[in-house]
Amino acid sequence: MPATTSSSATSLSELDRRIVLATQAGLPLDPRPFHRVAHMIGASPELVGARLKAMLASGQIRRIGVVPNHYRLGYVANGMTVWDVPDRCVARYGERIGALDFVSHCYHRPRHRPVWPYNLFAMVHGENRTVVREKAAVIANMLGNDCTDHDVLFSKRILKKTGLRLGQPQTSSSRY
């Protein structure tokens, strides 16, 4: 099933907002983490559990678990592979490319011709650039003649990485 962008985003209730603020940096490493969260925000553990389950069911929470760090696991090369495919078949290919085990993100995005002709993005991770290029070749093979142009944009430097955070002013000075 493709996870398409939801058009029915609702603004958060005050309770949900407090739950997000208390958990977006991580769950407490406590035997009863949801009780701890409930205590932090002054709600009952039952209510916190019920809201988290509801947010999981609605897709507001994608999943609950660990997020491995690619770099620390030795996947030091990352290439944003970008492809120009006809719009009519981008969804079909997107689903197949997203299913490849070396692709961590896969999106249909707008072109900006003539500077940017690409509409399908797949993030590919590997131990080095050669491996990433080999994996990009697998995608090129899948697309065949339906792909008129493609590129692999390797990352040179991480300039900033803070993740998504609610509850911050939008133009504060930052550590970077």
Partner: protein, 160 residues
């Protein structure tokens, strides 16, 4: 300033429990009174051992996070990918100006004419346009805005 990814030679040694935590706990953490105890039973270890191993993997940076992964757009937030072609001699200055915005969640230098790629994340979707306008005015560089049209499902990856 810039954070460089650590080089490959610092690749950590992982034992079987580390691998199970990384491979089997990327989703599905139970919402109940004693979730660690429940998962620990499945792993055939005790609760404290699971908790201390997750803590260790977080401290080592092998895990970058443990908890709920929120879906920004479904929470009403704005999220988009932006690209700019920044002249080489202004790159550091522009990077600093861009990074100063709290809405910039990640920023990468990439090898292309469009050499700066950043993700904007705002609590309210309507804020994206004003952040883009502010960065363009501040840097004099055109932003190519590439919000996702469709997201394709990707499984849980990075088996170790």
């Amino acid at each position: 300033m810039a954070i460089r990814p650590p080089s490959g030679e610092s690749k950590p040694m992982l034992d079987e429990l580390d691998k199970r935590i990384i491979n089997e706990l990327q989703g599905g953490f139970p919402i109940c009174d004693d979730p660690f105890a429940l998962v620990a039973r499945r792993f055939d270890i005790d609760e404290q051992m699971l908790i201390s191993n997750i803590r260790r993997l977080l401290d080592l940076g092998i895990l970058s996070r443990f908890g709920p992964m929120y879906h920004a757009e479904r929470m009403g937030g704005g999220l988009t990918l932006c690209a700019m072609a920044v002249p080489d001699d202004r790159f550091e200055e522009v990077a600093q100006a861009v990074n100063q915005h709290a809405a910039v969640a990640h920023n990468y230098e990439r090898e292309h004419e469009l050499n700066m790629w950043f993700v904007l994340a705002t609590e309210d979707a309507s804020e994206i346009a004003s952040v883009i306008a502010a960065i363009e005015a501040q840097t004099g560089c055109k932003i190519y805005n590439m919000p996702k049209i469709e997201e394709f499902y990707v499984g849980l990856h990075l088996a170790v």
